[in-house]
Symmetry: C2
Subunit: 123 residues, 2 copies
């Protein structure tokens, strides 16, 4: 997968999906959030807040969804998704039952991804 | 629902489930995490960390799962779940397809809940 942004603590990838969906991975080897060092924990929370705000502003979704499972892949990662009333699964989680064929007309995800560095470098 | 713990920023309820599953609600009216004031955001993260560590120690699960959707109920709340290899849905999320009839022999949830005040009051 392409790494879209990274720093000392975390890196970000995109999940292939019909909705805007990013994944935050931690750089250290850790199975659980509490296995991460405090700096990494704080960075996860900081990035979640920045990404949520940016996705709300840019995509104008109905709701932001956040999740961290890692049941298959024992490596801490967080999902952040922009959800829309007419997306494939709403109001179910993206892991729930499909509700319909989604046909979303959204602003460019590539443009959003192009802003990640500026958004997250806090510069 | 019974409130198991609360303070100025958050309160905790139990989800009825065959697995240990708690929900952290925010006291303020907020649809998204970024609608919450910074103190409430920090308290959510603090409580998640404390609960994850306590659930790992007490229930010895295979994995902790964390999620915040609120697609049905537009009020910020976070799920924290202790997952086991032989629970009803593992390795799928609890919102995914059921895998089997779960039959878990776990330490008492009531005893765990009885410790929440001490765990979270930091006293």
């Amino acid at each position: 997968m392409t790494i879209l942004y990274e720093n000392k603590w975390v890196y970000i990838e995109q999940e292939e999906s019909s909705i805007p969906w990013l994944k935050i991975f931690v750089q250290q080897e850790a199975k659980e959030l509490t296995d991460c060092n405090p700096e990494t924990q704080q960075e996860i929370f900081r990035v979640l807040i920045v990404l949520e705000k940016a996705m709300l502003d840019y995509f104008q979704p109905e709701k932001i969804n956040i999740a961290s499972f890692a049941n298959y892949l024992p490596k801490v990662h967080w999902h952040i998704m922009a959800r829309f009333k007419d997306d494939s699964h709403f109001p179910e989680p993206m892991w729930g039952e499909k509700q319909r064929d989604g046909d979303l007309q959204l602003p460019s995800m590539d443009v959003f991804i192009g802003r990640l560095e500026a958004l997250l470098s806090g510069g």
